[in-house]
Amino acid sequence: MTHPLRSLSLGLLLSLGLVLISWWNLFAWSVVPVTELDVWHAVSAFDSQAIAQRIVIDLRLPRLLTALLVGASLAAAGTIMQGLTRNPLAAPSVLGVNAGAALGMALVSTLPFLYGALGTSIAAMLGGGLAWLLVMLLGSAWRMGGNEHGRLVLAGVAISALCAALTKAVVIMEEDQAAGVMTWLAGSLADARWQTWQSFWPVAVVGLIGAVLLTPSLNLLQLGEDNARNLGINLLYSKLIGSVLVLVLVGASISAVGSIGFVGLIVPHMARLLMGQDFRIFLPVAMVLGAALVTLADTLSRAVTYPMETPAGAILALIGAPFFIYLVRKRTL
């Protein structure tokens, strides 16, 4: 158990960091010059004819809020997944949820009759859920060779690759559209507006509250299935709720900004490193860290190829993939 004073000071430090990163995100690397002062004026005394202030209110603010909430959602989803599977390598992007959701959205947006029936958010959740189900089935079906962690990851890779290839099959014929689709697949916050935010936040907030409420069960799950059963906990029930929460959080994020990977993999590990093993403590910390990470990546997305933009998801992948390698090498598998 971590010392309460240490937790408190770390928590304060993290919140301060998050505020600073958010503040920076509002004005850094703007093509249209936006200063710290403009941000202040936009919030305190808004002048609707000043371009810089309008940009802060109409573009930057919804973008920042979406980034924060996407980061928190993905981090929470990753934490729940690692808790449910008791697998340190589990994360939505590793276990096929992202690829499946992307396939669902690509199918829906290219086949008009599906579009009418489903809508993109539902399609993303359905696709992600189906892919995850397949991964869990495949991963638990072959007991031969290797331990469970490795098996799940291999199943995830196979299903992700399959979904990615089918997504490509859906879009490759529209060759002029390739660049746009690629940007969407990588996940970009550039087009997040108040509209996006309005349809995104209710779902995400419900998911996040659910995640916090689930933490005691996640703690018990870590004791192992047999122990949990002896304590009289209905495992199936909490597993089911956990899975639904993951799908809601990831599906909502993907339909808001596209498929952003690796947040769910990296952040829970960082949070665990800081806060120890208690889910009740490190899940909220993971949410804060996730929010900070995505916001930081979004700021960098305007810097890397200034004055053009690089999708934030591509930058996160560049940071996340080496971490994945590190994680794999560190763990004794």
């Binding site: 093509v31 004819q49 309008r54 573009l59 060759e175 002029d176 550039a190 087009d191 053009m308």
Partner: protein
């Protein structure tokens, strides 16, 4: 094959005998010198700009790589050519269909078809020139080369001179030095064409400017509303591939009204296919006419 070889041999003999009427032409293409000693009758072109060059001197190709969609070819070019056989996509044309047309000249694009240049050579003599990502000036040079190879050198020279006059006449009707930005809009992205692009080159040839150019060196760039505000061109010309496109969505946002082109109502719609896929003398004249019509109204 035997027959066509005989045909070719007899043509060779004829050309040797009638050296005054049909001369071997040698031009420089992207792979070095290219020479042809007969006037090609069955031509297959693998990009739209080559079809445009042929049509502008009244030569009719038998096959076009048209992505299996005849509407992608410029209407004016379609009027000249009539019907043709599709040979598949521009990125991966079907070599067996090309071979089945028994062409005596293939015109290919160095950027897309270099990997199959040797195979194309086995089917017929292949003239390989830049097309995709070419500039307006590159295109005029390519058209002149095509004119020589198909034996219409004088017609092509005349046509190019006529084109120059046409563009000058159009330029006189248009405001000099105005900043005009063309972009293609899809459901989720707007791509601006800078002066390295073909459309940008046409706008410059008409004595106007493309403002996005001084920001970086790429010919097409994906642009957010914020970046568009930073560029803030006087005139915006948009080709919408779909409706509602991203530009349609932006129109509902308060920021949109801060663009000077919007507040002066200088935002116009054109055919995205002509403006972004078609290139060539006739395509450029189509674009110039579009612009003249737009500016007359505004």
């Amino acid at each position: 094959m035997l027959i066509s070889a005989f045909k070719r041999l007899s043509l060779l003999v004829c050309s040797a005998l009638l050296a005054t009427s049909v001369q071997a032409v040698t031009v420089q293409d992207s792979k070095g010198p290219f020479s042809l000693d007969y006037e090609p009758k069955r031509i297959v072109v693998l990009e739209f700009s080559f079809a445009d060059a042929l049509a502008s001197v009244g030569v009719v190709p038998v096959g076009i790589a048209d992505d299996k969609d005849k509407n992608r070819v410029l209407p004016a070019v379609r009027d000249v050519i009539g019907d043709w056989q599709s040979v598949g996509t521009r990125s991966q044309p079907s070599l067996e269909v090309i071979a089945s047309l028994n062409p005596d000249l293939i015109i290919a694009d160095i950027s897309r078809h270099e990997a199959v240049y040797d195979d194309l050579q086995k089917i017929a003599p292949t003239l390989i020139l830049p097309s995709r990502r070419e500039t307006y000036q590159d295109n005029l040079k390519a058209a002149a080369i095509i004119g020589k190879v198909v034996g219409k050198d004088t017609q092509m020279t005349e046509r190019l001179a006529q084109h120059q006059q046409f563009m000058d006449a159009m330029a006189a009707k248009l405001p000099a030095k105005a900043s005009v930005q063309f972009g293609v809009a899809r459901a989720d992205a707007l791509f601006l064409h800078t002066d390295d692009s073909y459309a940008g080159g046409v706008i410059q040839a008409l004595g106007m400017q493309t403002p996005a150019s001084d920001r970086d060196d790429s010919a097409y760039r994906q642009t957010s509303l914020e970046q568009l505000l930073a560029i803030n061109p006087e005139y915006i010309v948009v080709g919408n591939y779909v409706h509602p496109s991203i530009v349609d969505q932006w129109q509902n946002e308060p920021l949109w009204s801060l663009l000077q082109a919007v507040s002066h109502q200088r935002i116009f719609q054109v055919d995205p296919n002509v403006w972004s896929r078609c290139r060539g003398v006739m395509a450029a004249e189509h674009m110039a006419t579009d612009l003249a019509r737009i500016f007359a109204k505004s």
